[in-house]
């Protein structure tokens, strides 16, 4: 079961990380991209957020690996066995990316326009502006939404059980099935998910405090 937990965390970290990259790129594309780019991203976020994740996972996992193999065969290469871990990460990242796009887009819009204008007025290139000003300045607005996404990512890994990947839920099912001690094992799995969330909360709180270092607390009292 601990091996399952480890796999789950691995997928969640990978999916969340790649999802963040997709989200940052997506948010930028939606805000500053051309009309075609914007429409494409709109289709992506709408469809991914509209279809149940379970359906998406089945679709992307089976259809996706099939597609890759067909392309490979067409190009004259041998079929490959898609690694469950890698496939799981990419499928969930694809889903996470759609939500992250919207979270980050909203956060960027919350950054006072003047700060971005100041960066422009001092001759920063677009890339530097993103790295030095826009992303750090939007972080305090994005953290609550991204924290939600992270917690969802940890639990969405359970959906990968359906494609036979040995993450925490799947391992629990196997163990419970063999011993017939369903209650014990599923309670234990629940406790592990809870522990993961509690640890996450502590870390998120730290990151949030750090990201808000330049912002007076709402309750007053300064730093």
């Amino acid at each position: 079961m601990l091996r399952g937990l480890f796999n789950s965390v691995q997928i969640a970290v990978g999916a969340f990380g790649i999802g963040l990259l997709i989200g940052t790129g997506g948010a930028y594309g939606k805000l500053y991209g051309g009309p075609v780019m914007r429409d494409l991203l709109e289709v992506y976020t709408t469809i991914v957020r509209a279809v149940p994740e379970l359906v998406l996972i089945l679709l992307l996992y089976f259809a996706g690996t099939d597609l890759i193999n067909r392309v490979l065969e067409a190009m004259g290469y041998a079929r490959i066995d898609v690694n469950g871990l890698v496939a799981g990460i990419w499928v969930l990242a694809f889903v996470q990316g759609a939500y992250a796009t919207e979270v980050i887009r909203g956060a960027i819009l919350s950054v006072p326009q003047g700060q971005i204008e100041a960066a422009r007025a001092y001759g920063m290139s677009p890339g530097m502006m993103l790295r030095r000003i826009t992303l750090p300045a939007m972080l305090p607005f994005a953290i609550p939404g991204l924290a939600n996404l992270w917690l969802i990512a940890t639990k969405d890994t359970a959906l990968l059980a359906i494609v036979g990947f040995n993450e925490l839920t799947q391992e629990t099912r196997t163990a419970a099935g063999q011993t017939k001690a369903y209650f014990t094992f599923f309670m234990a799995a629940g406790a592990l998910y809870l522990a993961l969330t509690l640890v996450s909360n502590v870390i998120i709180a730290r990151i949030e405090r750090w990201s808000r270092r330049g912002t007076p607390s709402v309750a007053g009292g300064g730093r």
Binding site: G114, R120, A121, Y122, G123, S211, G214
Partner: protein, 265 residues
Amino acid sequence: MSPSTAEAESGAAEAIHIEQLHKKFGDLHVLKGVSLSARDGDVVAIIGGSGSGKSTLLRCINCLENPTSGVIRVNGEEIKLKADSHGHTVPADRRQIERIRSKLGMVFQNFNLWSHMTLIENVIEVPVHVLGVKRDKAIATAEALLDRVGLADKRDVYPAFMSGGQQQRGAIARALAIQPRVMLFDEPTSALDPELVGEVLKVIADLAEEGRTMILVTHEMKFAREVATHVVYLYNGLIEEEGPPEQIFGAPKSERLKQFISNIH
């Protein structure tokens, strides 16, 4: 062209040159052919009522607003403009405009310090990351500048924990840190509480004293009269009258300017 005669005779190099500048926002014609020039050491004050186009004029100099047509030269280098696919005028060469911007120290009405950086980080940001100055050298310069604007003790404080006047003085230090050829002030005291205006004006007056080239959009008529070498009165997108401060405030010719000045006092 409208060089201020006194400076034209002194033969100082031309820092800013604007010719026949037009700016339209959709159907709104904000600037209708404005020409302006500032030589080294000039302090040009731009005054005018709300909606006269004075802020837009200032913001066109570093292309924060893209002019619809006209010529802008900074340090003798003309900003290359082109029409984009929507027919808007945009800078033709991103690197050129970035280079020009990094020589113009802009001070905004709302300070616009970067909220995720401490004051000293704000001041060294552009020297270190845009101009490639070594970090310890930039910090030494920044500390001297903060000392100069009276904020040495706020070095490691985030902008949100400072008063408006302190933020604006910090923003002036940030602008000075790039060793600008010209300082651009966009209504630097308009967002401040009345009791904080004085401390900011004092810093700006000191800069004028040491002969810095500045273009200043302001509502502070008394201040403009004291520090400016040349005053431009904008009305409805055109220069209605311009000249040395004694003439503009002491013996205005245009009816509108007379009225404007009497309304302010």
